[in-house]
Symmetry: C2
Subunit: 388 residues, 2 copies
């Protein structure tokens, strides 16, 4: 390589992460590693270390105890027949869509679906019919909308081969009545995939109780794992198709290309699992804390959107006040980002003031009090500047 | 969860890896982390840490300097127009096949192809026509075989939309004349994908010089990275298709489902890259060492298969002698595994004696001398036992 390139390489040798003391980023709250997972990363960091004693199938590795984790622990945890490890929730959705749907089919998805639902469908050659949300301020999804959307697509001559519900969605943190959605989809003869990227690992999710046919979860989003990694569970009839074996490579599953997370990420998920199980049991505390935080911000005139009272740590807020302040602020629409950063707080997207999302997940109440005070100060200060 | 499960969880909290001092596993030699990568793992271990300052595209993240790595450094390193990060070589092959071929098409692959080539093709709905190897002892692939295989499939009415060459293959470590294969494929109007899982990051590979249209590499196999992670490079005309944007999510690439390695693995690849670049420059030393090791084992009657003189650290050996010994050994066919393990050596698959593969990559010559002595002792000992 020319020296013009090699001289640039030194910076790769020591890359430091710079984040604030309090991180409100919904994407990151549930993926912070446990000390056990951090130790596992170092112990198993080398490429393919998981495969020291592999006999041909990742999910059957006994040392480390992957087989027990994948075939015993996770099916109990998700309350579903069969589970595999994936590269993430999106890769799980794609695997399910690619194996259960045919190109040209329609799927029905909630209007709050994550962009990766759209990409997974597009990659699999599928079209999407949406169940629109109710709009401001709650943006809820009516389960009955699934029936309409399925019938509309069918009436137009399309085959609807899957329904997807984002549980909760990643914008408003709304938890739709999944049990009812499943019931409706099944009445219409369509299997339901539940995208639990923000629920599995945070709150109790039983695929059986919700009657979801397929569930996907995200290790890096909600299971204290070093990503990318996820879980994909399915009822046996769908698992048989999704996890089908190769015609010529008898112990390899086609849709997973043999093995998925053949690295340390899997060990971090396993190492964090006892903690994840325990925190799922304390979910109600997180809901209570989120509700309290929401009410504190609302007292400052920052309005929570989405379901109220809220049932999840991921929340969407709206503030005309902060938006007004930004108009005359020296740093313009970046003022909120910088003001929070100066107070040791990050995770709200730079440039946002009028509406933004955040998560209170696993943040101690004292820290959230600091966040509330910060918003209070920023609004006060902004009002003074405007008055001058 | 029932207590019968929770009582099993303690073992997940502290999982230790147990490997020998000298590891000959070809799968693992090139994936051992550098100290810099190990530090990056700890620093960036948390789920989605790479996304602290993401503006919507993983490969455009500037802090850490992912954009520079993916769009400037890697294209120079692979000598190809456009590069993206994937979950691994197999996922790169699938992305290329899925986007460039149509279900029902044929691909032509070398008879030594890795099983993941087969899975990627099967997942994409493709059939494979093989260029058979020459058989014992060299198992070479004749580039002219590609022309025959392409024409045969075409004569039978199939569309051949891709050729794959495994460079080197993962059984014999043979390096086919890729330049010539590319020439033939292009004469027949078929693009060539080069699977460099065992070359990229070990030896110099220039896609441009070899005239490969698409190249895939493996971070965990050959780029000192914590997997799963890989690279996928392509000439612009193919990159435009493989890395096409979503119809509705404008800054997301469909085939990558938006982002691929959105975690610490990417940072380990970046952190190890200065070392990888340097070691690629010392490749000839590794070839010389492999040849010396091969000649030492041959003196013990353990015959190297594949190309001779050999051009790669991955080698396949055959030994009727060890096989004979195993017949009367107390541990049967597992005797070799245990005898080597007792001498601090691992990486040859348990149960193999008559034929096995190994790699000498980055193993100091002194350690390889220990391996040679170990084989010498094991054969001597076995001969004594037989004589008794």
């Amino acid at each position: 390589m020319p020296s013009s390139i090699t001289s640039k390489l030194d910076k790769f040798r020591c890359m430091k992460r710079s984040i604030s003391e309090i991180n409100l980023d919904p994407l990151q709250r549930g993926g912070i590693l446990t000390p056990e997972a951090r130790a596992a990363l170092v112990e198993w960091g080398d490429g393919y270390s998981v495969c020291d004693f592999c006999e041909g199938m990742l999910d059957r590795v006994r040392n480390p105890p992957v087989e027990e984790f994948v075939h015993e622990i996770l099916p109990r945890f998700l309350d579903v027949d069969d589970v595999r490890i994936t590269h993430g929730a999106r890769e799980g959705m794609y695997a399910a869509m690619h194996s259960l749907c045919d190109a040209g089919d329609y799927i029905v998805a909630d209007g709050n679906a994550h962009y990766t639902t759209v990409l997974a469908a597009e990659r699999a050659g599928l079209e999407i019919s949406y169940v629109e949300n109710s709009g401001e301020p709650e943006y809820t999804i009516n389960p009955e909308g699934y029936r309409e959307a399925i019938r509309d697509a069918a009436d137009q001559g399309y085959r609807v081969s899957m329904a997807v519900l984002t549980y909760p969605d990643g914008n408003y943190g709304n938890l739709v009545d999944a049990r009812r959605v499943a019931e409706i989809c099944h009445e219409e003869g369509v299997p339901l995939l539940l995208n639990g990227a923000y629920s599995i690992g945070r709150m109790p999710v039983s695929a059986r109780e919700l009657d979801a046919d397929i569930v996907v979860g995200s290790g890096h989003k909600s299971m204290a794992s070093s990503g990318p990694i996820g879980v994909l569970g399915a009822k046996q009839e769908y698992a048989d198709i999704i996890f089908r074996r190769s015609k010529s490579k008898k112990n390899k599953e086609v849709e997973l290309l043999g093995c998925t997370v053949r690295g340390a990420g899997l060990l971090t998920m396993m190492a964090s699992f006892p903690h994840v199980l325990e925190r799922v049991g304390r979910w109600q505390e997180e809901v209570d804390k989120a509700r309290w935080f929401s009410s504190e911000l609302e007292e400052l005139g920052i309005e929570q959107q989405g379901e109220k009272p809220h049932n999840h740590d991921l929340m969407f807020f709206k503030s005309e006040r902060l938006y007004e302040i930004s108009k005359s602020a020296r740093k313009g629409r970046y003022f909120l980002y910088h003001e929070l950063k100066d107070r040791g707080i990050c995770g709200i997207k730079p440039g946002l003031t009028r509406q933004f999302k955040l998560s209170t997940y696993l943040i101690p109440r004292e820290d959230l009090e600091r966040v509330v005070s910060a918003f209070h100060e920023i609004i006060e200060m902004g009002s003074r500047v405007e008055a001058e």
